[in-house]
Symmetry: D2
Subunit: 361 residues, 4 copies
């Protein structure tokens, strides 16, 4: 099937270009009778909203007001498709005229042109990070289901521009713009972002996502493994170049006796598994990390080619972030929410005893 739909039973289809009239998502398969309001979705959107200021952020300021156009009746979901719409209000498309015929390095311009023979060059079109706003909105709806099951998904920054978080204070995550659980590291990360921006450059980082309260038994062997789908989901975010679960790449250097988490009557000792064994959740906390590349749109001059294949020098103007992290943390959270909501329903659809309050009738 074409690639704009995610999930099997909790299915999300996103649509829209950065500088088209609007973007949106259609959610099909959300169970009925769950409480849902625009305010709940809006709160999630506000977390990834640009325009909160700070050196890592674009100057483009959009209210990103979400509208629910279907699937909700008198404050509850009805089991029919939920259509979410966000108008593109502040799109200065003319700023992109210079890019109509030039391929920005590190961007999808050249591959969209190769694939489709046509592309909406304005703001990256469909490949813009703006598309992820629709994912975040859909993730908020998924969380309404996860709430019923007591599943909580937390995303935060563990590295940025070479600066690593060394402490983990969950309270701190929401206190800084970079979603860093280590306030001291957050300050150094901000300095690193400011430095990169001043140099006309950008920096990457690492996002970690944890999911607590996940029941054992989610995930479908052998190709629908929970870790496989989480990896695919996070790698479907444009800037992500690597994904790891639990011990991740460190596991490659461990011995079996180091890596195996002993099982005790009280549960697992350690969590090198990242909460997943043989692709199925083991009841422990899920731990996933995503490597985020530096934003490719930089002010420094770059060598590239135009539509006619001629060499040109490019200086990307417009409004761009110096780090994708402040936007990508909520997107990583959203993708994990979508994976889990889908697997909750898939587990039920295989006959597993996964229930939520108010679900039975």
């Amino acid at each position: 099937m074409p690639g704009n739909t995610f999930g099997q039973l909790f299915r999300v289809t996103t649509w829209g270009e950065s500088h088209g009239p609007a973007i949106g998502a259609v959610i099909d398969g959300c169970p009925p009778r769950l409480p849902l309001t625009e305010a709940v979705v809006q709160a999630a959107l506000d977390l990834r909203r640009p325009g909160k200021g700070g050196p890592a952020e674009t100057a483009r300021s959009e209210p990103d007001r979400v509208e629910i156009l279907s699937g909700v009746f008198e404050g509850r979901t009805t089991g029919t498709p939920i259509s979410l719409l966000i108008w593109n209000r502040d799109a200065r498309s003319e700023a992109y005229d210079a890019l109509r015929e030039v391929f920005r390095p590190g961007h999808g311009d050249i591959t969209y042109q190769a694939k489709y023979g046509i592309r909406d060059h304005r703001g990256g079109g469909r490949a813009s990070g703006r598309e992820t706003a629709a994912r975040v909105a859909a993730g908020a709806v998924a969380q309404v289901l996860l709430d019923r099951l007591g599943i909580r998904v937390t995303a935060y920054t563990v590295a940025l521009g070479g600066v690593r978080a060394r402490a983990f204070d969950p309270e701190a995550i929401e206190t800084n713009r970079l979603f860093c659980p280590d306030p001291e590291a957050a300050a150094r990360m901000e300095a690193r972002v400011a430095e990169a921006r001043a140099a006309g450059d950008s920096v990457g980082g690492v996002v970690e996502v944890r999911a607590a309260g996940v029941p054992a038994g989610l995930g479908e062997p052998v190709f629908g493994k929970l870790d496989g789908e989480l990896a695919g989901a996070l790698m479907s975010i444009g800037a992500v170049k690597g994904v790891e679960i639990g011990a991740g790449f460190r596991a490659a250097e461990m011995t079996g006796s180091e890596h195996n988490d002993p099982i005790t009557p009280a549960g697992f000792e350690g969590n090198n598994a990242g909460g997943i064994l043989a692709g199925i959740s083991n009841g422990d906390e899920l731990v996933i990390r995503a490597a985020v590349k530096p934003i490719p749109s930089i002010a420094r001059p770059q060598r590239t080619v135009n539509l006619r294949g001629e060499a040109v020098e490019l200086r990307v103007g417009g409004r761009h972030d110096a780090s994708a992290i402040p936007r990508i943390v909520p997107v990583c959270q959203a993708m994990v929410r979508l994976v889990l909501a889908d697997h909750v329903l898939r587990a039920r659809g295989q006959g597993q005893a996964i229930d939520w309050p108010g679900e039975g009738r």
Copy 2:
């Protein structure tokens, strides 16, 4: 959908347990009129076959003869489903009787029990690495299509037990049992495996896969991105705990000006992108790495619990590898083949001009 099917248009469904009567795969969507014989599939299977000796390998020796039961007529595919069957001949199930009520640490025993309330404990049942033989067989069929397009997929070991390959000699890959492109490193890797085995332990490693000849334009935004599907495909291999594309986790520490691959009239300079931009192949070589955990079945005593939740000490007997690498390299290759064959057909199905000799009629 349930999890035993991979791909959208080149669809592979695998089935079978380690100690059931047989394992197999059904391929639906393979284009017609491609040459296909059992010998071609057998050659791929022989690469991952245990019993070639060496300290990393299990003593279980199976010929793994594949039979093609359908979909081929007079040496050519017919467009109908291709059923591949491999009998399980040498399965000493009684060796696993001790594991009927005990959960092996690091294995799926406990999660299968949690998910299904029943499991075939013999040899890991469905979670056994043996299932991947069916993937390798299917991958060989995929390669027949890729051959027509000039796409070559190479997989090899870049790290094992902490030893890293420092040279890349493609000729060397097939000359050693570990598929290592650096003969000197291969020797040290073998020593590391022997050391781990002697200690009743096991080691992990890193597998790299390259695909050359991939046309630009494969991959579907936004959820069917080529890198997203490659990541999901490799993470669907039981022992894989991390996946990265191109610069991968190193990208998180780079600046945009370092990471962006300049575009010149002659092509890209550098390949930090790993051959993929915005989820779509850019015509360059694909480069993907997978982190493989150490095999969890080790001879050393381990703490675990039984079906009744009681603490027990486990010493895994039976025939086990000290490293999964010799088996997993061909599986990684197979999964990349499957992803590419699927995306070749999906690109055609979107109207892209991707053709192969003898395809048109």
Copy 3:
């Protein structure tokens, strides 16, 4: 997967309730570089628009203006999702207050309540015929692709209220409100509708769809047969209770020597097959018929029950058609268009040589 998506490669997801803010469709998989404007979609919508007058029609008059929110750039499709939106402007929801707790016979009120435990009772909610406007809009986009291949899909009325068309004048179809190819029968059908309406009743009918220019080779054995998918597509229209292909139910009374269409060097003699053999198009014209039940909303008093299971007498007020035919003919046409566009892409995706002008690059 949930049920609001149709098609594999040309995928349409519809959303929206009769009296919610809007309805719409998202099309994923439409090939790029096809010409597409709102005017083309609007023209198809205008065919099924209520408010054209005549005794079979509801008095509800909506302009049904479609907006294209994504997937089109400078008048051509881009290969990204096409979002179609139609606002619900004229929805007098209060007219339905009496139905909040009463199940209308012949409607989905009682089954939606049983399935979801909640329903938007206003105008039938999601089960309203209004949802089919989104299908017609999507069908118009599908036709843009079919146009490139020279495929034409015609739908018309062959029976209504017991009156059968006896002549077939393709020119006449658009000249009467009932899409009847026999002008004389059309007049008697109108009289039959007026009679039913005067009696507070409604009438059913039979719609026939023909598709010309369909290349041989569309349809996928064994479960994706072209006739199987056409049948499923037409039966997915609320009022349809039967579907037949070619000779259809008459075939059950024929002998093999009568039913088999002889094959000659010039083509088939006769078309009892309806253009499909073994689920695959044979190059002949496709012929499909759908039996449409009488509209269940009638003015006559009916016995039913309320939410508490108590017997009540119901007289349906509001604005209702006396026959669904004028609305359903364009919907049948749209569904056949969607099936064919999907199968054109699926055939390409299997490697078949199906091309259209401007497709190759």
Copy 4:
């Protein structure tokens, strides 16, 4: 996706050609812990087995022994894929040599050639009715799940060669080879078949399927409607040319007041709906009918063409039925079973309270 897989959550993939080594099915998504033995599947297969004698039947006699190769452990399903295999033992392929270059009228020979450019001509290859044995086997597995929910699916012949059943004695169905519930009609049907066979001809008929015990709430609006999927499922049987639900084509001639089934506190009065309203089961009995065309392989000479497009006269030899009914009745039953098992799981996967004994854990 390619067409050899049926269902969303209870997924069946069939494979195999009439004269290849074997045919089979892989079932993915069958819930765990259900009792399953080869004997249960064999019993269903024996119902459609040729070789029971009688004039409607082919002389080809195959034991059709099914083997379960995976997914069952100690007599219970494990939740992993169930692989069913049936060897083709009695295939006299040389009898088909004459058909290598000739297209039989009414068969898929010409369309397979058009689609694939290659075909296994022996016995119809993939288009053979033999493929349906795999469906019947899979249907037997589906019934094991339906048994837990008290759902019973009955299929029988209501018309054959113009002879209609006028009585309905469920006891009689299994007493005659034609599955006719009217013993007197069964005798006349047999006479009609004998007459057709003597004339070197064949006859069609109508099969009816009823499903009792179906809970209200199965079926997914709008494209996954229960009636839509039943219609598609039955039309996916090669010989079926029409499908109707409840009143079916008669509904087209009824008024709304005649067609609507009144709702009373005790349930529905009448069942013109066939147990389905707005695509969702209403708790009443499902009633579906399929029109079966006469078998196209007849002894009479027929006009056709060969691979080079030259006119030839064909007399089909070999072993052929004079009516497809004795084989198709069990296939219709199987397809309805597959649809219902799938929708039971899909309803659970949407959060509906559909449970079966032993399901919860």
